[in-house]
Amino acid sequence: MEIKPAGKYIYSDIELDREEGQVIEDLKANSQEPIPDPDRWLDEKLEQNILLTTVDALINWGRRSSLWTAICFPACCAFEMIAANGPRFDLARFGMEILRASPRQADLMITAGTLTWKMAPNVRRIYNQMAEPKWVIAMGACAISGGIFASAEYAVVPGYNRIIPVDVYVPGCPPRPEALIYGIQMLQQKIARRKNIDVRKLLER
């Protein structure tokens, strides 16, 4: 039987590749500084903190007990996250059983894996598609600072906080599922202290 040699691809668009390459180069040039972490709740004055109403507490309880994750798992940490969703370390008991593919229905992004410059515009686009309020957990050493691959600077982004603002950092390579659950509980405590309604503005009216 004659083996037919490989033919030309019907569609191999070099123009599309060049456009995408340009987007990546622009993003690389613009992301030389890390984005500061969103911890504005640390700066609030004490009196505002006391005025946390029961409505706030109710809203925060609803938000933190039903976090839905968006898919963003490039690499090895993904398997620890799936194991955390599995029957042994059950994440569904925290309300996080949905691991849907659509970022529009999600409010938490757990970034599990090394980020490369080629993937960075896509991650930014997924982050932009999520609706407010949204949070990000950086899982693993590669997500915090580039990890074991940080010396390959030509391809690896040194940490997700160059591209998106990160709320909680979970170290480990890969972190155990228990460590990830601890990180999620820290995020839940952070959400519990969030101010949703500004009582002063309401009283001024």
Binding site: I10, Y11, A75, G86, P87, F149, A152, Y154, A155
Partner: protein
């Protein structure tokens, strides 16, 4: 009256629930039928080959863990075999037996995930996947006893393994070996004659033996197409020539055959582990070596039968403490060359299944 159609290009992007990681495909479709496909990857290119030139021979072992991250022990084994071939190091016997036990346990764990992910793509959304995770957790517990890690073990060294087995390992392994065949029979009872699986996977994505050899495909995909080639029998490494096991092959080379092939290989691995457990000798587990190895100038290529195919390391040394060039022969990347031929003429839903039956890991493709 004929309707005028024209083909269009669909992008199945890097973030997709069925693509087993960050992998992108540009499919040219005519209606629902796939005409051509162009895979785009590189979204996880971390420069492991470049990093390997700057690290010592022992320091590359953690990097090799992260190649095919669901079968780290096999990657470690291939790399250590390459270093031993280059430097002419002899491995003590107890270490060889421990390596075989670890490699075969790892093969079962990786094939469980492969079969689970394939069934995930076929439509049994997550149920068999999480069932197989239950078995994998038991194997991962055994590995955690030995190396302290759940996913990237860094256990093997050039010249043996890094530490000896603790006392609780062998009783736990015996308990696992008693339980495992019962679970495999349960999966077979539920899945082997399942109507939906047969309707979706039989006859879909056929790869003939000749095409497979021309595309340099290896591993379960090659054996499911009828070619009887397994490196453990044809070019035995370590002490595989002392064990008695069969090489299953299948007839057609469609997706159902690849699924059956992986299940059969899991059973053969159980046979090998049982024999190795009985013959395990005592003795040292690591050869006496200096901290920094300096192999003589030359090159070596060592290959093993990894769960995905033929994994090989090509090392070139120039008598210094770091290799001059370290090339990794990735089975997932080379098995992907057959994707174009297998997919032409099938619909988009079949594309997902065919792609899932090749079983790739993006960490190995992109390195």
């Amino acid at each position: 009256m004929a309707v005028r159609t024209e083909p269009f290009v669909l992008n199945m992007g890097p973030v997709h629930p069925s693509t087993h990681g960050v992998f992108r495909m540009r499919a040219t479709l005519d209606g629902e039928v796939v005409i051509d496909i162009e895979p785009v990857f590189g979204y996880l290119h971390r420069g492991i080959e470049k990093l390997a030139e700057q690290r010592t021979y022992t320091g590359i072992t953690p990097l090799t863990d992260r190649l095919d991250y669901i079968s780290s022990m096999s990657n470690n084994l291939a790399y250590c075999l390459a270093v031993e071939k280059l430097a002419g190091i002899k491995v003590p016997e107890r270490a060889e037996y421990i390596r075989v036990i670890m490699a075969e346990l790892q093969r079962i764990a990786a094939l469980l995930i492969a079969v689970g992910a394939f069934l995930n793509d076929c439509g049994a959304y997550f149920t068999p996947f999480l069932y197989m995770f239950r078995e994998r957790e038991r194997i991962v517990d055994l590995f955690e006893m030995v190396s302290g890690q759940r996913l990237t073990y860094n256990y093997m060294r050039a010249g043996g393994v890094s530490q000896d087995l603790p006392e609780e390992f062998m009783p736990a392994l015996r308990k696992f070996m008693d339980m495992m065949p019962r679970f495999m029979d349960e999966y077979d009872r539920l899945l082997m004659q399942n109507e939906i699986l047969i309707a979706r996977a039989k006859g879909v994505g056929i790869l003939t033996g000749e095409q497979a050899i021309n595309c340099s495909v290896s591993g379960p995909v090659l054996r499911a197409s009828g070619v009887n080639w397994d490196i453990r029998k044809a070019d035995p490494y370590s002490i595989y020539d002392q064990f008695d096991f069969d090489i299953p092959t299948q007839a057609t080379g469609d997706c159902y055959d690849r699924y059956r092939q992986r299940v059969e290989e899991m059973r053969q691995s159980l046979r090998i582990i049982r024999q190795a457990m009985e013959q395990l000798p005592s003795g040292p587990v690591r050869a006496e070596l200096p901290q920094l190895i300096r192999p003589p100038t030359g090159e070596a290529y060592a290959r093993i039968e990894a769960p995905k195919g033929e994994l090989g390391f090509y090392l070139v040394s120039d008598n210094s403490i770091a290799p001059y060039r370290c090339h990794i022969r990735p089975p997932s990347l080379i098995n992907l060359t057959a994707l174009r031929d297998m997919v032409r003429g099938w619909k988009v839903a079949d594309l997902i299944i065919i792609f899932g039956s090749i079983d790739i890991t993006v960490g190995e493709i992109d390195r």
